[in-house]
């Protein structure tokens, strides 16, 4: 079988580098180009010395990348707005794209504008393409993904919240409060330098940010939960910065009419054949160390005694199941490859 020819935009981001590493050892693909605006002309392994011998290609400019035609699939690891801008002509050539930015995730353009637009980018760069995009939560949109030409790969926090909750809604469970208290490793904040991710300020520290109803991943969660609930869902989402490199753990409080044990049963049945979701017992709660560097999302349910909320705990690696791993899983689905290809390690 001919190998799938891959291009990567934004290859020098953390998600880009993680994707390159996984694709390098994928049996059915070949990386045709890696692209970067800032580092054009340098080798990818100059920027990430860890990739020496794994991918030593010279980075091409996004403009040059847009001209490629002999390519089957383009991953974009660019920031929102920039991503859709660059992808439009690529999509126009009939090349399949997997966008790790938020640009095609939100179906309601007014919601997108509220959370993402500003004076610099007052409008969505490609409103006409939003409807063509499939939300790339592999376990819940597998069929649509198989036939899609544009994948809106979900946010890292989003995947950790939706995977435990969607099967409940889909099974008709009534939920009338959701509080997701999430904790993420620092790579989730990206490779750009900021004071709060400077080592001496993030290390031996822990902090909340954008808690309540302020973080940009909130509307994505609410959109998918509302779809599943068939009514508007509003929720509290509280992200925290965890002094580790990789991994998200979400502690999710819900008021519901069933017990934690019943939630576990529903979720186990729902994900029984899924290679990348592991449902655990309440006595064996998910931990970040168990999923780091893998494409697994681990889930358990507990709580719910004395009339208190049921608690879901989920854990995934923000750079793998939360980004590049799920993107690759989606690519496998789109191209009819084994869904686990390149993802076992």
């Amino acid at each position: 079988m001919a190998k799938v020819k891959i291009g990567i935009l934004g290859a020098t981001s953390y998600t880009g580098a993680e994707l390159v590493r996984m694709l390098a050892f994928h049996p059915n693909v070949v990386i045709s180009y890696v692209s970067s605006q800032s580092y054009e002309g340098k080798r990818l392994s100059d920027i990430f010395p860890a990739l020496a011998g794994i991918n030593d290609r010279v980075l091409i400019s996004p403009q040059e990348a847009q001209k490629w035609t002999d390519i089957d699939c383009v991953f974009s690891c660019l920031p929102h707005a920039a991503s859709a801008d660059l992808l439009v002509p690529i999509i126009g050539k009939g090349i399949k794209v997997i966008d790790l930015s938020a640009d095609f995730r939100i179906k309601d353009i007014s919601v997108y504008k509220k959370w993402y637009c500003d004076d610099k980018h007052p409008d969505h760069p490609a409103p006409h393409l939003i409807d063509k995009a499939v939300f790339g939560l592999s376990e819940h949109y597998r069929e649509e993904i198989a036939g899609a030409s544009i994948i809106a790969n979900p946010g890292c926090y989003v995947t950790s919240v939706l995977l435990p909750l969607l099967p409940l809604y889909k099974s008709g469970v009534k939920i009338d409060m959701i509080i997701a208290d999430s904790k993420s490793g620092v790579s989730g904040a990206g490779r750009g330098l900021k004071q709060n991710t400077h080592f001496p300020e993030a290390h031996e520290n822990f902090s909340a940010y954008a808690i309540g109803h302020k973080h940009r991943h909130t509307p994505e969660m609410e959109q998918e939960l509302s779809l599943a609930a068939k009514k508007p869902v509003i929720m509290t989402f509280s992200p925290h910065l965890l002094p580790i490199n990789r991994g998200i753990l979400s502690t999710i409080y819900i008021n519901t009419n069933i017990s934690a044990a019943e939630c576990t049963e529903i979720i186990k049945k729902h994900y029984v054949n899924e290679p990348f979701v592991r449902v655990r017992e309440a006595s064996d709660l998910p931990q970040i160390a168990n999923i780091v560097h893998t494409n697994y999302c681990d889930i358990a349910f507990t709580g719910g005694t004395e009339g208190l909320p049921v608690i879901a705990v989920s854990a995934l690696d923000n750079l793998v199941k939360g980004a590049s791993g799920q993107a690759l899983q989606n690519m496998n689905i789109m191209f009819g490859l084994a869904e686990t290809a390149g993802l076992l390690r």
Copy 2:
């Protein structure tokens, strides 16, 4: 003025060592003895080389410690049950004691039994003394502490949850749901060796434990909140293990009839003259790095928009305001010393 003569039981615990360090530089005290069952006969600075030159005393056995009479105040950093056992004869001599264990914190002995007793310790070691003990939350029991002979020093998590919530209840605010999602550094688990606090298993990891209504600090919180609310309060308490040495951050969700800004106002007014509580704005949420190695508890309120819960965020150092620092603050109050003596650094 004569210096206060101090004895320390359990000096080789983390809280014991922290207490010794602070007392060593306190202008109004002298450490008469340090005691340890396991390390009797060794120097404290053999066990904690960091204390070389600061406290090089030979550790005496608890039995020998019990015989001392020329002493004004004994701190116990022993585990529950062992602590009350050893303190009874000391209290009998009229020596003031500050107990960092849970033994005297819980007023309802049946609640104590439910959470702390087991086959090995089926009963409370000193039920007749429970009523004499004052709950050592310095900011809320200052007058009682001043006249007390037994202080039940609060738990670390407990202090981080009560300091933001008690003033609301005391101001008549109606609260009808409490979820405290707390994260603690590993020193909170003590100096005893366990697999989950072995470096390679705790580092680059993050995990929930005893979440819902299972952790032993829950009844303490519920006792004090119920007292303040003048009705039974039940709450969700979810501790997590944070891969840092010291510090607790609690994210506390409450349903209430007032806004976050109003909560901030109440709390600011309540703590305006407190040297160790810093109320912060919603734009400047507490972070562990801001309080580590100090006796501060930082507090802020946010959230409450779109009908969602109000969120309190608090941060303190589990070994200082969460244990030894607050114990020392209580000692200062009991002996009429400046409340901040030995606590500024």
Copy 3:
């Protein structure tokens, strides 16, 4: 081709678990059993929840493991003395073994006794087998490994010191002082609980231990360097405990008659076809982050100006190239498999 049937002794050590993970995704092997004295009867994934879905086998006792006959290769991740003890009957059945302990590394039995024997184990458990064992430094003993039935897999520190130095000796370079200042992540100290690897004591700490000429990896290094130098070599070896999970970086000072640039040339030429040694420029020194979770050893040379020593810097993952990865590389060589099989990630 029939798959290589594998047994693993000491599967619940860190090196054991790492080996299981790599073998689970190796295309040419099947794990026939995993064994553990302490956890017999439990599932491996009960002990390492990260392995759920990857290897959920029930651990068998070492005694039961010894009885297996339908097996091609046994890896031992046991401590020294215990390892050789258990391997003797397995070797007797003609099964190939790869021993990650020190038991078969040291050719001179008096040297072994000096460094490893004590009252509990006064003698080497299998002196008659020492000569049959091949030192498993893959890049330097490839031919011998291919035909070997017993592999003595090198120590982690040892590999980091020998890979940069052996090619110099083999090229006739004169070296008359060696100081290896090495720093290792905490997983190198194993899974057993000790006070100095308790999280709150190892984290935010850094310490030297067994420095000078005291660490048990010293005689191994000296043996191999002496063989290459064709004269007795004695060296300073200074290990340090680094507050990270995985990875070793060695800074090695040598007095020599050539420049750092010449060393780089020799080493580049020597390792030009090696898949797992990356020689770097002095401007791009090895870093632990570049090799962690991989089987690479990165090497560079610098220094040597103003008459000062030349400096080699090497980095590898103590659990991969320093232990289980190199063991698997050796297995690939022994069984005629692609040398990189199961090792690319």
Copy 4:
């Protein structure tokens, strides 16, 4: 006694903030101003929320700071070149200054130029003042410091190397090779943002930089060692970046004519009355955790068996004894205060 009036230039650096914290609780000083070019007009506690309630002063510009006259002592935490530039007029007013930059450390202006000057700063900003400056290694220049008007506070690495070696030279010990392999926490790299100190790149990493004879602290060490040796000393200095916030550990290899035990004796005798140097036994090597947040430098000697080098191990906190603590110790000496005032914690 009137309090010493203090001004601080560069108060928003890590050394500045640490100095402010220590001075805030010093019984004999008052901070008259804190200054910052970048943050003029903001409160110091806006930049460092940890300092809320400790120092909430508004930062003044360096230009305004230069105009102050009612001041006894100015600390400069500015970078080299900028520091001397700003200090010249302050020194001109007869105000005592303690400069934490390198500007006044190096006596030979050609050496200063070689290591510090570039196109932007081709010359030393105040060559006429170099001779007036005293090298602020408190334990070795106490008398000169007492009478000085300009203190050149030593570098952090420098203090960790000189404290163990100077007493040997001063006792006539012959040393003919020095290799200092030093490891520093990330705060040593300052508060400015750089890719290699971005959390996800420094954490779980370890790397060497500027090793051999390239780091700017090398000439300072060589100057002081040469003075003590009464002949030119050249040495290898190899700094490494340690993934912790604070602390330096130096492992120093020397060829000498005496044993490690004899070195220990000499050093013990030399520092017997020093409050901030702790000499330890070879069985109790210095560790960073033992000195962090204190003004101690811990020192031990080991090695020297089998004709191999003697090894000194030293540890100090780069922000305290390596910078602000030693600066404050020097201030105490200059103003006739208790040398430990404000430094015990």
